[in-house]
Symmetry: C2
Subunit: 185 residues, 2 copies
DNA sequence: GAATACCTATCAAGTGATAGATAGATAGTA
DNA sequence: TACTATCTATCTATCACTTGATAGGTATTC
């Protein structure tokens, strides 16, 4: 892995743990054994790094979701694996979805990072919308979009609160309740 | 309003906008026309201030919820007004529920603030649990608790994502979808 | 005269950013 | 082939700014 990739790898983990504010050049540098000034060679400003991280995160998600939709016939199974993506960071040192934690820092983000966060939300909502339509859980596009946004929001919320409690079970119980109520197919 | 109350008032608004990290003595001080050092007289450390804010927030919520449950017969109406509490900060300069935004900063919080955040979550979940049981939406306490946590999480999530988009309508649509699906009675 | 509530002045730590140097690789040219 | 120029990737050193905190002074009030 070259330096730029290492910076992004460590940077993502840091941001998932502490948000944009906790992302700092010195810690990243020391984690990979270079000096903080060297990071500016790869990412001139912190905003550039944040933007790259959020964009990469959205791209990775898009790629993963494409795989997911060919892997499962049943939408219920598909969304179980979808939810598992958001469960993973919690058990990995109580981290969060990068874009969830960045969304909470909305006001402090440089515009380009904010845009990338919205791109991530769009990737998810659009994918969910298409799945709901395809599985005929919803018939109108507008309704499917709103349902998709609700599903995404509820999962992010479950993650946020489970993290606040430091208790993954809270995430699982919330997801069960979403399914039980019929919010999630 | 005395100075201590002013500090807490301004401090809460600041924290709701930018989180614990954005809470800073100098900005609070200049907003109310004193010097930052003077805040230490009322709150020796930043942790003390954060703790006081989160505790006060939980107390206010508890008081409000007590009023809410006597005001409404129908649980559906009651929870509509409940949801409106979380809508309010969004239209007030795209702010968040104090404890939602603090939860996202979990790792950076002093332990006493973290505890206060959990107290707020408990206040909400316990109240929702009792409402669900009383309205016989759920019969077992365990199920009611899980449903309550799910409702709370989903509302916090709707707020987080709506804020990320800077779009209150996203909150409204998510809440409509929660109701439509039957997650919210 | 003690307690209250503020002030001035200052510190130490952390952080993003920049300037300028350097070692090594690469490519163009005589 | 040998020389030279440029590029890449890093370093050292340093700056400017923000921020929480503290020491010690000063009115005002009880």
């Amino acid at each position: 892995m070259d330096t730029k990739e290492e910076i992004m790898h460590v940077g993502r983990l840091m941001a998932q743990a502490g948000g944009y504010q906790a992302l700092n050049f010195r810690d990243i540098a020391s984690a990979i054994g270079i000096k903080s000034a060297s990071i500016h060679y790869h990412f001139p400003t912190k905003g550039d790094l944040g933007e790259a991280l959020a964009n990469r995160y959205a791209e990775d998600m898009a790629r993963f979701l494409k795989e997911l939709q060919v892997k499962h016939e049943d939408i219920g199974e598909m969304l179980k694996e979808y939810a598992a993506i958001f469960r993973a960071p919690l058990i990995n040192d109580n981290r969060m979805c990068l874009c969830g934690i960045l969304a909470s820092e909305h006001d402090q983000l440089p515009p380009e990072v904010r845009k990338a966060v919205n791109r991530f939300i769009d990737v998810n909502v659009e994918w969910l919308t298409d799945r709901l339509l395809k599985a005929k859980v919803e018939r109108s596009r507008v309704k499917a979009e709103r349902r998709a946004l609700a599903i995404f929001s509820s999962i992010e919320g479950a993650q946020l609160i489970a993290r606040g409690r430091g208790d993954v079970a809270a995430f699982d119980h919330a997801l069960d309740a979403y399914r039980g109520a019929g919010l999630l197919p």
